[in-house]
Symmetry: C2
């Protein structure tokens, strides 16, 4: 067993999972829960697909339709939280971030790489969350103008490893990702 007091090894492991999440759709980090705060102060959480992870830039990326409630929430309060549970590693990854919403020409290059079959996720009519009379009374055209990249600039990473004894550590961007052990 590696040194249980090696903070950087724990952080390395978390980044391995996040990076794999982008590449492998069967990885548990592919589909984090993404929490935001609605304008009325209510927390909201939903599954998202992880589309980018850069440790050197401290960035995670998610693609979204700009007509969704998460964009409304982020325009009001740009803070977001990611939550991932990695079953085989007994590892909980919690991340807080400030989110930059990229649309128009800023997201153009990324749109070009979205497969045709996935483009229908951006442009649902009527807009997501609108009441409809029938379960299927909606269309899913592809609308490039509705595509946005959520560039999530990481502020803090909180890891809990549920081993025989629990270990919890916090890593903060401001401290250049130096870690601290926390009581779990």
């Amino acid at each position: 067993m590696s040194d249980p007091n090696d903070l950087q090894a724990l952080l390395d492991e978390a980044w391995r999972h996040l990076t794999r999440g982008v590449a492998d759709s069967r990885s548990p980090a592919r589909y984090p829960t993404f929490a935001t705060v609605a304008p009325d102060g209510t927390p909201e959480a939903r599954t998202v697909a992880l589309r980018g992870a850069s440790r050197s830039q401290s960035v995670l990326e998610v693609h979204t339709d700009i007509a969704t409630s998460k964009v409304v929430a982020l325009q009001h309060n740009p803070k977001a939280a990611f939550h991932v549970w990695i079953p085989r590693a007994d590892l909980q990854i919690r991340i807080t971030a400030t989110v930059e919403i990229q649309t128009g020409s800023d997201s153009e290059q990324k749109w070009d790489r979205v497969p045709e079959s996935s483009r229908v996720s951006y442009g649902t009519r009527p807009t997501p969350g609108t009441a409809i009379l029938d379960a299927y009374a909606y269309e899913k055209p592809s609308d490039r103008e509705r595509f946005a990249v959520l560039r999530c600039h990481l502020l803090e990473i909180d890891l809990v490893h549920l081993g025989a004894r629990h270990r919890r550590a916090e890593f903060i961007c401001e401290n250049e990702w130096a870690g601290t052990w926390l009581a779990p």
Copy 2:
């Protein structure tokens, strides 16, 4: 296949999963993600164990140590969100709630039913989130005074069924849980 436009059947299915989550530790609804808002406005999300589910009372219950950050968050903003993904049913359950924090004599009966082995989850020293010098520099005594029940009074349930075509419905407490289809 049942009628895809049967709103109550979809809600029934969600409650079946939530109820099973309380009884069966291997059920996916056993461990929801629970989101709150920290006093500085940052959303927070973590795994919790579902300890109670009453459809007739529109209540979900979670047990916690009162010294955790989620209690600090809830004392400031009593709104919370649950998020559960049920893989075999392709069902996303999202719930918003107002949370009542029960401590002292209000939580006494429930403490009596917490197994001895689980009581160590309430009372960690130093308190959870405190910086420590070594990964294991903490103790887990059992402290009845630190035990709280989070009684979550449900306000809204949002369900997304990812079938061949997606179905999304919203159910609201104020409307006595009548449902509405939404564009997904």
